[in-house]
Amino acid sequence: MPSHAIRIAGLRVVFGSFPAVDGLDLDIRAGELFGLIGPNGAGKSTTLRVLTGQRRPTAGAVTVCGYDVAREWAAVRPLFGYVPDRDNHFAEFTGRKNLRFFARLYGVPPRRADEVLDLVELDGAADVAVAGYSLGMRKKLLLARAVLHDPPVLYLDEPTANLDPRSAALVRRILRDRVNAGATVVLTTHDMDEVDAACDRVGVVCRGKLVALDSPAALKQAHTERVVDVVRADGRREAFAVDTDRGRRGLAELVAAGRAASVHTREFDFRATFLRLTGQAFE
């Protein structure tokens, strides 16, 4: 596999006169868990649609594992698994029957369906009709279907939405295991905590363009406000910018005089960073 599992070069997708994706350049390395974030309408879902062959690009090139998505779709198709944002199971079939159907399409043995049901901890509900599943169970079944054929690339749209904390942790563990096994995982989400906890790198898109690309830690470093909030003994609040001499001196004097009731550093706030980068609030 090439060092870059996914290469997006000059991607442009236009709806009428509106450019949903406007010259996006992005390389996603093999074996990384990549988060694609952005406000609604930023172009991340459209990008995912191009990657999954649901929409042809207006311009630009997209390759997955070296195959051009537009020209070599037949070769690309078995290489990825996809978890959409809404479930799309045969509700009248059991979980096991759903997976066995897709196992037959992918040409994998039926026992693989049982393995992935175990993996997502749905083995106890394997023979229950999906119509009786909760939203979280359906989401986990989507993940089971996506990893059924052990694909080298996984796309996930809001993978932990509707999941309880334990199930969300399970999904993150499965994704990390896939990455450790060499797979490339691309997820889109609005959950900044998930991005922070799970992703190796994050791409921030806004108005169809990439506006930031780095690891969550580096983004924190680059965009955390170096400000200390102090609540004085008399109850008044004060903020000190520690990047300035005046701020550092004022904070030191207050603490030395024992007039500070509490001191808090401002932690990395992805929402604030996001506002700064995109000029748009998260929705």
Partner: protein, 391 residues
């Protein structure tokens, strides 16, 4: 086309029908009805004519453009305008030399070889001698006027004797008196009235034909369109299209499964009514042609409708629209438009197969149905490949 994928898709369709028991129940009901129909009064003779009496159209057919024909054509009263159709006998549709008329249609034929006697043949729908009464009344009245004018032109002063246009004997008697006064200026009149003949509709065969056609329509249009759109609506088509199954394979599986289901159900219904029919190649060819046509309609509806509800309305709306067009064309005397509908040819070939009365013209209907099926399938395939699986 990979066999393991096709097999998986076909099995999925089958499993879905087993899981959704409504369709299975309706299929069983159809078969039960056919069994009951076959079991009760199996040897009952054809009992009644399945048609409302009267004639909605009357042809005036002639062998030559005589003054009488011209007079009649000029004097069609407004209340019969559009219901009286003039044509040369040579232009009438004929099979083996016999003129064929649609149900609810009669004819008044005029022959006057070499200026001799006028021979009038009144052909009324079989079993309904009064069906053409309105048309005959007009015809005799205007014939009488035409002959009277002819006599006057030739110098005969002939006051009209008593005349009753609703009675052939009176017509002939009055005409005889006119001839007595006008002499050879008025040609001799020969009248002859007959039923059109042909087979009387066996109601049980008609019902069986309807059930067989319904079985095909039910599977190939209704089930295919609604279940395909349900898959689209729920993102299931997308899930399959993103798997190794190609669009062609997804369509092919549906194009195999639903006609097979429809033909199987139709064969069971037909076999329950008349088991012998299952050994007749024409029956199977008819099922294939009509099933193919309905498959094309179903795929077209499935490609155009976005939701299951829209597919249901599309399937039912299509049936209603075609029925209205066929009814309108039949009663309006429009002959070529119905021939463009599978639903026009289908029941004819299926009825012929079920009643063992296949004639030469039924092969024409079969070919027409097959041709229309090919057209529908081409349209549906193009549409489905273009927009079909997308959410």
């Amino acid at each position: 086309m990979r066999p393991h994928i096709l097999a998986a898709l076909l099995r999925k369709e089958w499993d879905r029908h087993l899981a959704n028991r409504g369709g299975v129940a309706l299929g069983l009901l159809l078969v039960a009805a056919a069994v009951l129909m076959g079991a009760f009064a199996p040897d009952e003779a054809a009992g009644s004519v399945g048609r409302v009496g009267g004639a909605h159209h009357c042809f005036v057919e002639y062998d030559a453009e005589t003054p009488l024909v011209a007079h009649l054509a000029r004097n069609v009263p407004p209340e019969l305008a559009g219901q009286v159709v003039f044509r040369r006998l040579a232009d009438a549709d004929a099979v083996d030399g016999l003129i064929v008329y649609d149900p609810g249609v009669g004819s008044i034929q005029l022959r006057q070889p070499a200026g001799g006697a006028v021979r009038v043949s009144v052909w009324y729908p079989d079993g309904d001698p009064a069906a053409l009464a309105r048309f005959e009344g007009w015809f005799w009245r205007e014939s009488r006027r035409a002959f009277g004018e002819q006599a006057r032109r030739d110098g005969a002063s002939a006051p009209d004797p008593a005349f009753g246009p609703d009675d052939s004997w009176l017509v002939l008697e009055a005409h005889g008196r006119l001839r007595d006064r006008a002499g050879s200026a008025v040609p001799e009149l020969v009248v002859d009235r007959k039923g059109l003949g042909g087979a009387v509709l066996d109601v049980r065969a008609a019902v069986a034909t309807g059930m067989v056609a319904f079985a095909l329509y039910f599977a190939c249009v209704y089930l295919l369109a609604t279940l395909t759109c349900e898959e689209r609506e729920r993102g299931l088509l997308l899930a399959q299209a993103l798997s190794p199954a190609s669009t062609t394979e997804i369509i092919a599986a549906k194009a195999l499964f639903y006609p097979a289901l429809g033909i199987g159900l139709a064969a069971v219904v037909a076999g329950a009514y008349r088991p012998d029919v299952l050994a007749e190649p024409f029956f199977w060819l008819s099922l294939a042609a009509v099933g193919g046509g309905f498959l094309g309609v179903g795929l077209t509806v499935a490609a155009l409708a976005r939701t299951q509800r829209a597919a249901f309305l599309g399937a039912m709306g299509y049936l209603l629209a075609v029925s209205l067009v066929l009814l309108g064309c039949t009663t309006g005397g429009v002959r070529w438009v119905p021939a463009l509908a599978v639903e026009y040819h289908g029941p004819r070939v299926l009825h012929a197969a079920l009643t063992g009365s296949v004639a030469e013209d039924h092969w024409g209907h079969l070919l027409a149905a097959a041709g229309l099926a090919a057209g529908w399938l081409a349209l549906a395939g193009w549409l489905f490949r273009r927009v079909g699986w997308q959410a």
